[in-house]
């Protein structure tokens, strides 16, 4: 791979990836006509192996222009076109929960597989699929954020107690905690309504004096973290450090989380956001090198 293209909003990560991989970074021309249609233009790419750096949060407005860009690169003679999507969208709907539902993960995977030759992402939200290969027909590589998150906690939090959002996260938080010799727990949730979630933290009395570190893969509405911060306050524990891999922060989520007064919020740089503090450049570069 010998050219990186930064999708708008991904310039910072693209530049650091370019440095790590010794690959030049360019930006395609992207704009919108007044009627909302996208315009795209690429530079000289003939014979080059190109990868686009484009995190796929808020995917609907982004995907169509991204498919246009991939087509334009091929039309201009690029030797190959890959996608570095640090956050990959549309994995939630991995089957029909109700009859008639669109299984959007399959359609989305087919569209991307038709436009790109390979895909690298970070911690995709896989539940019933065991690997991206079940729905993506192109080569994929998955980068794990856990080692960098563990290193960040070790460097920044004294006496941490790592807390995952639910029982499904146990494997992930135990990996982070194990890497730094810290204890861990997972929240137990009782949902009372759409926005009313009660959480309990089993066995937390076993670790007095530890700093709680709430870690989640995706911070979307942030409600679970807000509920957990509230519970920790009731227990008169230290305000927690909140860590997320993917800083989606839907709608007012960031403000709501700040209002709950955590000690700190730190996210990985898979989606550009002011809370980015954990740099995955090296891990992503290694993942890319494995594929191309």
């Amino acid at each position: 791979m010998n050219l990186l293209l930064a999708w708008p909003g991904n310039e910072t990560l693209a530049q650091s990836l370019g440095l790590a991989l010794s690959v030049p970074v360019e930006s395609p021309v992207t704009r919108r006509f007044p009627d909302g249609e996208a315009y795209l233009r690429v530079g000289e790419v003939r014979g080059r192996d190109v990868a686009i750096v484009a995190s796929l949060d808020r995917p609907d407005e982004k995907t169509l222009p991204l498919l246009f860009l991939a087509d334009a690169l091929r039309a201009e003679g690029a030797a190959s076109v890959g996608l570095i999507a640090p956050y990959l969208a549309y994995l939630r709907q991995d089957r029909q929960f109700l009859r008639g539902e669109a299984v959007t993960s399959r359609t989305f995977a087919r569209l991307l597989s038709g436009a790109f030759q390979w895909l690298v992402t970070v911690d995709p939200h896989l539940h019933r699929y065991h690997s991206l290969g079940e729905i993506y027909s192109i080569e994929t590589a998955v980068v794990h954020a856990a080692p960098e998150i563990a290193a960040w906690i070790k460097a920044n939090v004294e006496s941490p107690l790592v807390i995952g959002p639910d029982s499904e996260s146990e494997q992930w938080v135990s990996e982070i905690a194990g890497a730094i010799g810290a204890p861990y727990a997972t929240l137990e949730k009782t949902r009372r309504g759409d926005r009313d979630v009660e959480v309990t933290i089993p066995r937390i009395e076993r670790w007095p004096g530890h700093t709680p570190v709430l870690a989640d893969d995706i911070v979307s509405t942030g409600r679970t973290m807000v509920a957990a911060i509230g519970r920790l306050a009731e227990l008169k524990r230290l305000a927690p450090v909140c860590i997320g891999v993917h800083a989606i922060f839907a709608q007012d989520a960031w403000q709501a989380l700040m209002a709950a007064k955590p000690a700190r919020i730190a996210t990985c740089n898979t989606i550009e956001h002011p809370t980015n503090a954990i740099d995955l450049t090296a891990a992503l570069a290694a993942g890319i090198r494995k594929l191309v």
Copy 2:
């Protein structure tokens, strides 16, 4: 075809098409998760020939969910899936004007052709393509708005002078004018800058007392109509009636056009808008019957 699905914002036209074609009309469940991803669910469609009514103005946020919906219909056993897109997007970029540009019309046509078996639209903005068949690999039918526009002018405007926006529109405005025995002219534009267009109306002195009728296929920024209204005021002519097939009205276009004080604005119901006055239901129903 025995089921119409109304895409959000297309309910009014879908209902009147349903009546005209004696076909039931349903609405798919469409919503967004807080993180911006689309959720879609369809009803019982096994063995049915389904058509979605979805005008494609502001196409980027709409196209991905629309492709999901088409896939869901197929997965649920629909016998066929067609698209009634009264306004069809992405026809402007029909070649590279500058090296490296994405020819978005081709990619867009390939995506829709992969999702639908047929397509009906109204007056697509074709320039260098002679027909949709050059880029769409599915059956297409084009409905012309001119007869209904001519009938509306005849019923609503006394002594009309039909004026097209540019020399390319001559064939279209001459058809409208010819149908009602009215004279016609086309604007000549001198562009002085991005938003500064000067227009002249050749030979307008030949038709004193006529009511100017400015007719355009797409009203996007509305700037040409605003300039023409200003020119007519300078000539101390009657305020014109403004007619558009496709009521895009990008950003503040509607307000800007209202502020120029035309006698009236009337658009066809290809894009739902308060100015809709010219009903193309019968013409669209005839176009659909030709295909299915």
